[in-house]
Amino acid sequence: MSGWYEGAVALMDFSVLMMIPLGVVLGIAVGAIPGLSATVGMAMFLPFTFTLDPLTGLVLLLGIYNGACYAGAIPAVLLRTPGTPSSAATALDGYPMAQKGQAGQALTISLVASVVGGLLGTLLLSLFAPALARYALSFGTPEYFAIAILALTIIASVGGGSMAKGFVSAFIGLTVASIGFDPIAGFPRLSFDNTSLAGGISLIPMLVGIFGVSEALIQLERVSNVHERMSVLGTFKLGANWVKRLGPTMLGSTTIGFVSGMLPGVGGDIGGYLAYNETKRLAKPGDCFGEGEPKGVVAAEAANNASNMGSLIPTLALGVPGNTQSAVLLGALLIAGVQPGPGLFAAAPELVFGSFLAMTLAYVCMLAIGLLGIRMWIRVVQIPAVYLWPLVIVFSVVGSYAVRNEPFDVLVMLIAGILGYLMTKAKYPVAPLLIAAIVGPIAEENFRRSMILNEGSLIWLFQPLTATILLMAAASIIFTLLRHRKSSRPDPTDKVS
């Protein structure tokens, strides 16, 4: 209980409290703009958390994460263009609702479902993460190596169409992480006697370039001054019996989203689809999925917000990212000098429990800001791209420069941006690069330490828990392979996809 008390005391600081609405507002603005995903938004604002203390910076980033996840639904409903990948399933029924003149109701439903899914997800996170962290305190280097490998299986999932391309991206990330001094002996690697490279590649400029600049370059290709026409909004009010009608779907989808979020690589987009499909499978007579069914919007939004919270369990309790956004959060903590993992709950309870409380407040705040400013957020969708994307580049440059006041970091950002652009064009996913750059060093250090402690023998791989986690990693890859095979087969009867 003392952890909660310390968290509450830390949160009472005015500067921390102010970051909650600020993060939510920034997140909603980011999520409402098609192309600016939660990851891009978090990457853009990450460098500005350096001047803040860890809790304040973390609260800002979590606010952006949660706000963006909800606001992705706004363009999904109005334009059939999800603002973030996790809102893809929202468009399936949200846009048909808008076409029927019910855009206002669809937006209110998506807000309420996001808040309920997020609040329940935060509750489940605060119950499960400390328990897992307590259990993980007994882990040694073999278990940590196995967990890092399990986290690397995310790569198989986020690799999109081709798992091989995902692994190419990951190997590039591992190479980038290898630059500089090695973690055991301290010998220089791949630095070519360059003093800037000897210190290693800073994570922030790489992250900002890979996500921010590459997206800007892609969007700049097709910038035009043409505004897309939006649907008629209609009323924002929900009917009297909406709790009875939509409540069960909200609770069920929250559970599906949270559980799927805990699994490496599943993420909000897949969580949203899983919940949508389950809700559709259990449809009652009269439900019209794909034609503007409110339950479809509820399922997708409650699940993707709960999934975000689920993905924070491995991030906080084990120190390995559950998805791309939590990899950015992990990077923020590492840069702030905080080591995520089981020890964090004892070493910095105010940070962990303070962030749980902050997320709860962020969702309450999101409900108020979302309802009060809903007409303004709709306008954000239409910010002219000719101003937006050059500004994203300026923010990326400032953010990279501000890390160490080094033009070299801006060069790293530009190279990472060009690399990300070329990879995206050739359909190589960029997220595995970041995940491998964060998790790779954990895997390497624990593998080498385990080898040294076991005098060069691989017997430690067969310890019960290590072997179990490694089998889970193998199962995760097999599951992803099967899913890829299934999704590559056309299904003419499926109206949803």
Binding site: F167, S178, F187, E221, S224, A402, E444
Partner: protein, 149 residues
């Protein structure tokens, strides 16, 4: 096999070979049981070589680079960012940003002279003051701008 589908795996193959070659020069670890500092780069290099060979036979279509005006926008932006990062310190952030935003907006199709001047000046000033005084992030400023703050 089209030229476009061969170039990415060929570049990956070259990268993999380059990493393997560079890792040959890394000093071995101090303990016999330690796989050594070159362990990770070698795995990465070997992985890239193997995957590049597989990807030579990959039939997935990719988008390819744009042509014409979109290509000009992308290449122009890349060159402009390179110039921008080299001008931030000598010119100071506000002036370098005004130049960057003005030229960038012209590249992507803004033609109104008023917008090309007013928007970059206002945005640059707003960002500078936001970071300098709102977030306490020190950005380089010229003496010319220094008298204004």
């Amino acid at each position: 096999m089209s030229k476009g589908s061969v170039i990415p795996p060929a570049l990956i193959l070259l990268l993999g070979i380059g990493i393997l070659a560079a890792s040959a020069g890394i000093r071995p670890g101090m303990l016999d049981q330690d796989p050594g500092p070159a362990f990770m780069p070698r795995i990465s290099g070997a992985g890239l070589v193997v995957l590049s060979l597989y990807l030579f036979f990959d039939r997935e279509r990719h988008e390819g680079l744009p042509r014409g005006r979109p290509l000009f926008k992308v290449l122009g932006t890349m060159a402009l960012v390179l110039a921008y990062l080299n001008l931030i310190e000598p010119l100071g952030f506000p002036l370098a940003t005004v130049l960057f935003l003005g030229i960038e907006m012209a590249i992507i199709g803004v033609t109104s002279p008023l917008l090309l001047v007013a928007a970059p000046v206002l945005l640059s000033g707003f960002i500078y003051y936001l970071f300098r005084f709102g977030l306490d992030v020190a950005l380089p400023a010229t003496r010319l701008f220094g008298v204004l703050i």
